[in-house]
Symmetry: C2
Subunit: 168 residues, 2 copies
């Protein structure tokens, strides 16, 4: 009966984070209750407070975890090559598309954050956009892309167009 009676704070934390991720992605911050989170993660409400302080604390932790996963993946992609090449650009686009396709939950989470005027992760996000914009500019200078558009705009529009694609 008494299975796994040993304490494992790291596992507990990650279980709470996972439950928080699922519920927040599904319903957004305001519509999720601590009781719900506790039940889903199989721990006590108080224990969540013990590990994350407040409901907002957990929300922040969930966002941070999700975004840093996204950030690391994209950063690797973008920092990879430096020679502007139409195939490289094309592949980058395809990879990004694939990533979103395989992580629709992340897209949803970011949409919630955006509606709630959340500025968490904005520095990291700005960095990614800047990296992408540099690639676009290089391509423009190499004559692969029209030069009369703002590189940052290109990236921004592209990201959001991709994000929306899977939502309909």
């Amino acid at each position: 009966m008494n299975e796994a009676t040993t304490r494992d704070p790291d596992l507990t934390r990650s279980r709470i984070l996972q439950a928080g991720f699922e519920l927040f992605v599904d319903k957004g911050f305001a519509a999720v209750s601590m009781r719900e989170l506790a039940q889903r993660s199989g721990v006590t409400k108080s224990l969540i407070h013990h590990h994350f302080g407040t409901k907002e604390g957990l929300w922040d932790a969930v966002k941070e975890a999700a975004f840093s996963r996204y950030y690391e993946g994209q950063k690797d992609e973008l920092e990879g090559a430096d020679a502007p090449d139409s195939n490289l650009l094309r592949n980058g686009v395809i990879r990004y598309f694939r990533f979103l396709q395989e992580n629709p939950q992340v897209v949803r989470l970011f949409t919630w954050m955006h509606l709630e005027n959340d500025s968490t992760c904005s520095e990291m996000d700005a960095e990614l956009v800047a990296l992408g914009a540099r690639r676009v500019r290089e391509a423009q200078e190499a004559g692969l892309l029209r030069a009369d558009v703002n590189p940052t705009h290109v990236v921004t529009i592209f990201i959001h167009a991709c994000s929306q694609w899977f939502e309909v």
Copy 2:
């Protein structure tokens, strides 16, 4: 002191609707309370219940009002002309863009609805998309547009790309 002591249920209803629109657009359904709605619209909480039944009732009314305004406007645009003409198509696109630009709140509201898996207005929406798709198909048959893409996809992508544009 006692200004406008006369009763005007229509005005009251519309004031509540307006307050609901503003608050729901801003925070989404779950994060808005009846007390907040009452205070913003300058009436009693009970009065909102009297006019709209429940919080969800008001939410539905707000969505319906916003969407039907959107619907009427777009329907007029789309039903206007029938001869496929590249200028006409272009103008339609520009007008739609302008509409979203001037009604960012509507875009936000639709995003909230979408995240909450709201299917209200889906019939009306389908009708609009169908109208737009027909226009695209006509343009394809007239050789103005590539014929190897799904007209419905064109419209859907276009709508969401436009919607996102103003959000960044």
